[in-house]
Amino acid sequence: MGGELGSLVAAKLEAEPWVGALVGIDVDPPRRRLRKAEFHLLQPSQRERIVDVVTKFNPHVVINLSVWEPDARAGLAHARQFTADAATAIIGAAAECPALEGMVVRSGIEVYGRERNSDTRPTESTHMHPTSEYGLMLANVERKAREVGKRVGIAVGKLRLAPVLGKHVPSPLGRLLRQPVVPFSLFADSPFAVIEDGDAARAFVLAAASRLDEPLNIVAPGAITTLQAIMRGRRVPLPMIGPEWYVASKLSHVLGAPIPDHVVELMHRGRLADGAKALEVLGFSPALSTPEVIDHLYAWESVVRIGSIQAAVA
């Protein structure tokens, strides 16, 4: 509930007539003003406290958004650890709640992987074969949720999100695309799709309301290539052929925009998915297309200097 997506989901849930009480757990405080929700500031490693909070509340629905994308808010090792700890604690605690009817977990289209000859636009029935660290982390979250769902007999919905971009969403892809100079693969400039955080939050609310019991791809319509995104943002495109990617990623890390393996994979092999089923099952249709989300990415305000604000106020 403390991250941007979590806060958005909580705010949207508060506005839902079917939601009575709401409890959230995160390592950061909520980023929005929440009126009904009760918040607990807990680390993913504090399993006993998490279990205590969740079981006392005894919810009907649990939404697990606690997924740390590598190099978004934490480096790979920490992201892996936090995601695994949070999934064990929250999904495990949910299983102990007698009133629980359903659980919705955050996953991503990275679970399909981009190995050679993998589907151009995987559907929900495509076999999961993650080829990046992030994909493996998400596949583990899905597996844990599925096992618990089977064991206690509850509905488990898995929302496989395209890379989430939004105004304050920490995203390695968004950060990289906003750099003044952006590398792209000259010979493999492949298309990818994204989703805006507001649309992703709406999908979670719909999934929770309908007690979703299957995986769904949540993807904005349309696609864009890295070069086209760079051109839309009026950045300097830096063509790459192959081996210099290593140097570029290290340099980008130093400059404050690390490029994790799933982002490199996206830029080389593309990342598309078929999101048609979400419309059938949830009636969910993203408000923004992929190029529009990219435009919003570049429309954000850059660093706002306090001095200039003070001067403007004076």
């Binding site: 298309p191 696609a223 864009i224």
Partner: protein, 234 residues
Amino acid sequence: MAQLIEFPVKAATRAGHALAEPLRAAWPTHSVDDYGRDPYLISALAPFTKLRWSVTVGGTHHLPAKTGALLVCNSRRYSLSAVYAALALSEETERPVRFVGRPDIAPIGPFMRRIGGLLAKPSDVLSALSHNELVLVAAEGTSHPRNAGKVPHELIGPAVVAGVQVFPVATMSSTIGRAARVEVGPAVRARRKRRGPLAEVELADQVQHHLQRMLDGFGGVQTGVAPIDWLAEG
């Protein structure tokens, strides 16, 4: 006190604008569709493809206007018949026609994806057909231009699953000349209703049979110069 080292953002932004503006004017910043096909690139390549093939297209009235359909063409080895037929049919029908059989290795794979290529996988074909796309599959390559090769039933299966019609597309081109022909035949209907995988196996055989009949109807190439005609016969 530590000093903050700042990247020269303004200079880089100005350079970015200076570099990007001419490119933005020359190339649209959003031109790929949901499968990665780039109609703008295809139209930019059209003069070059027309240097190689001058394609006469016929029978497009058989094709559905909005729904998906699977098209199956014959293929002479190394003739790229699926590519020129898909490009010609796209131009004629004003609908994207995607061809099946792109490799998944850079730089050819991503390039072929941009001109409408799909992987030769039933799941890729099914995905496109279920989104009302026109998909062109090539039969096995043959050495003779008027022989229809075996039609891969694995790629016909998605049409049966998606419930779309299957059309034979006879293609003919010369190894040395520019002249090429693409003729779409009427939809092939399965003779028997099958519940299992025999449906696609039998449908594939029927499509091959239809293709052969269409190719027989084409006749040989007649340029008036016998040695050239023999060469064109493969």
